[in-house]
């Protein structure tokens, strides 16, 4: 058999096929490069050639303004990042808890299920801004002995709201696991809790990972809403700079920083989605 392989010579037709495929590849690369260049030139000419370009550059892309506002905006962004870190962890835990409670079986758990369901209805429905106002301005008005700081209260508001969304994402994942999986686990002698822990949740979480990361990207931008209660986040810092000089460059700076902050999360999301798709559908077939 080995000698047969060594003496293999592709036929002329096969050589022709290979050459044709190579030509096609080169051709598509050339076309892609060509159309990219054309679009790039059109965009540059259209944007910089537009009669308003000078005004736009002056009002939105002023390097001096960008430099002056950069440090305060970065300081504000640090607050966003800290809040994001704690709120992301807290809302994931809360969401998971609520989802598990909402999917409990058995009549005895009806009140728990009802409460969990009511929670997801209420907090997904309430605008985040209102939750923040009530918690950050209303709660301290009660003058309780241990009123936490505005940041903690705002963090609780964010966690409550995002916990609602995330709970539903988790629930979708849990319910997407086929009932035969539970049945098989229970027939092996696993308890309900063990079934959830070792069979259902691992599959559920894997399936909804892209949706979860999506919510985290959204949370990344919403943590800044806490600035209504006084703390200066990146967008507020940009607003202060903008109000001072009536130049919109600080907003662009803040926007760019937020995009930079979101890129790692988005890359991870794409990677996880791709990997899940490969594993679940087409692995080994290509």
């Amino acid at each position: 058999m080995g000698t047969a392989l060594e003496t293999y010579r592709p036929s002329d037709i096969q050589l022709g096929r290979v050459a044709y495929r190579r030509r096609q590849t080169v051709r598509s690369i050339a076309i892609a490069a060509g159309s990219t260049v054309v679009l790039g030139v059109v965009l540059v000419v259209a944007v910089t050639g537009a009669p308003g370009w000078d005004l736009v550059r002056q009002d939105f892309l002023d390097p001096t303004e960008a430099r002056e506002s950069f440090v305060p905006i970065l300081e504000g962004l640090w607050l966003n990042i800290q809040l994001l870190f704690f709120c992301a962890i807290a809302s994931l835990l809360l969401g998971l808890l609520i989802a598990v409670l909402r999917t409990l079986r058995g009549p005895v758990f009806f009140p728990v299920r009802a409460l969990a369901t009511a929670y997801t209805y209420v907090f997904r429905g309430t605008p985040l801004l209102i939750v923040l106002y009530v918690l950050a301005f209303g709660m301290p008005g009660l003058r309780l002995t241990f009123t936490p700081s505005v940041l903690v209260l705002g963090g609780i508001g964010l966690t409550l709201t995002y916990g609602g969304y995330i709970a539903e994402v988790f629930r979708a994942g849990i319910e997407s696991v086929h009932p035969s999986q539970r049945a098989a686990a229970r027939s092996l002698g696993l308890t309900y809790r063990q079934t959830m822990r070792h069979v259902v949740l691992p599959q559920a979480v894997r399936r909804v990972a892209p949706a979860l990361l999506n919510d985290l990207v959204a949370l990344q931008k919403d943590v800044g809403l806490i600035s209504v209660a006084g703390p200066i986040d990146a967008i507020r810092a940009a607003q202060i700079a903008q109000q001072h000089n009536f130049n919109y460059t600080p907003y662009i700076v803040a926007g760019a920083l937020f995009v930079l902050l979101a890129i790692p999360t988005i890359l991870v999301t794409d990677y996880v989605t791709l990997r899940a798709a490969r594993r679940q559908s087409a692995e080994g077939t290509t």
Binding site: V38, T147, A229, I232
Partner: protein, 294 residues
């Protein structure tokens, strides 16, 4: 060879983009009208018939919603009560508008001074005249000299403080985009970062809740808040001006508005005939006796 249909589509889209961008190009700004010099229109030109207001024959005046004493009363700017309500009414009368020809519109504080088209002929909203703001809007002659003041609640950390240095460790708050905020960052310069609020109502709530030690407001508002909105409010003192110039309130007009000269003339006339002085003593009497922090 003619381009393939698909390529042609791309080209059409590209040109459409170009055309769209050209269509939303800004119009040439109207030439600046310098309010000073011999070219300024005479008082005779400032009549409802000749003034280019938003609606011909009507004068549209803007202010925030809600508005408070002592500037307005009952959140009704059209009643001519309160200092700014009365000033606006006096300016309108001076320009020859009957009460029925004055239209009030509501514009939030921060939006009123953004560049771009305005929905008012002039806006009266305790706007201090600053060089930065002059890049975005026109100001009339000043109608009131103002100072910033720090307020707090009885028994708070800064109750009884008499110097600026005494405020160094305080957590202070102000409304975003105001000269009150500048007074904190440029004059008081506390070590703790100030809290910034969308409006003074939020800031007052935060003060009530003890989330901030003190709040910086213009002095007349400080008197109103401490007397009417807070049960145990006290004025700590006045803050010296940010610049060597005294801080002054002016009416806000669109940048290069053709009305700026007329409105300024009206304000000047009101100052000259004593109306402004009378209105100040009628509505802003208590203001004189707050201690100055140094």
């Amino acid at each position: 060879m003619p381009p393939a249909p698909r390529t042609r589509g791309v080209l059409v889209a590209a040109f459409a983009t170009l055309a769209a961008l050209a269509a939303c190009a800004p119009q040439k700004p109207t030439p600046a009208i310098t309010p000073t010099g011999s070219g300024s229109p005479s008082a005779a030109a400032c009549t409802p018939a000749t003034m280019q207001t938003l609606t011909a024959g009507k004068l549209t005046i803007g202010t925030d919603n809600p508005v408070y004493e002592p500037w307005f009363t009952d959140n009704k700017p059209e009643n001519g009560q309160g200092f700014e309500g009365a000033v606006a009414a006096a300016v309108a009368t001076k320009l020859g508008y009957a009460n029925s020809d004055v239209v009030w519109t509501r514009v939030t504080f921060n939006n009123a001074i953004q560049p771009g088209p305005k929905k008012y002929d002039f806006d009266i909203n305790e706007f201090s005249i600053t060089d930065e703001r002059k890049k975005a809007v026109d100001f009339s002659s000043p109608y009131y000299d103002v100072t910033q003041a720090v307020i707090t609640t009885k028994g708070s950390k800064i109750d009884g403080v008499t110097t600026l240095a005494g405020l160094a460790k305080a957590k202070l708050g102000a409304q975003v985009g105001t000269t009150s905020y500048d007074a904190i960052t440029q004059v008081i310069e506390p070590t703790t970062k100030p809290s910034v609020y969308n409006n003074n109502d939020d800031a007052v709530t935060a003060l009530k809740n003890g989330q901030i030690d003190g709040l910086v407001l213009d002095l007349p508002t400080a008197f109103f808040v401490t007397s009417a909105e807070l049960d145990n409010g006290v004025i700590v003192g006045q803050v010296p001006a940010v610049t060597a110039q005294p801080e002054q309130f002016g009416l806000v007009l669109d940048l290069h508005s053709p009305l700026t000269t007329c409105v300024s003339q009206a304000v000047d006339a009101l100052r000259a005939d004593g109306t402004l002085g009378n209105l100040t003593s009628k509505w802003l009497t208590q203001v004189a006796n707050a201690p100055v922090l140094n």
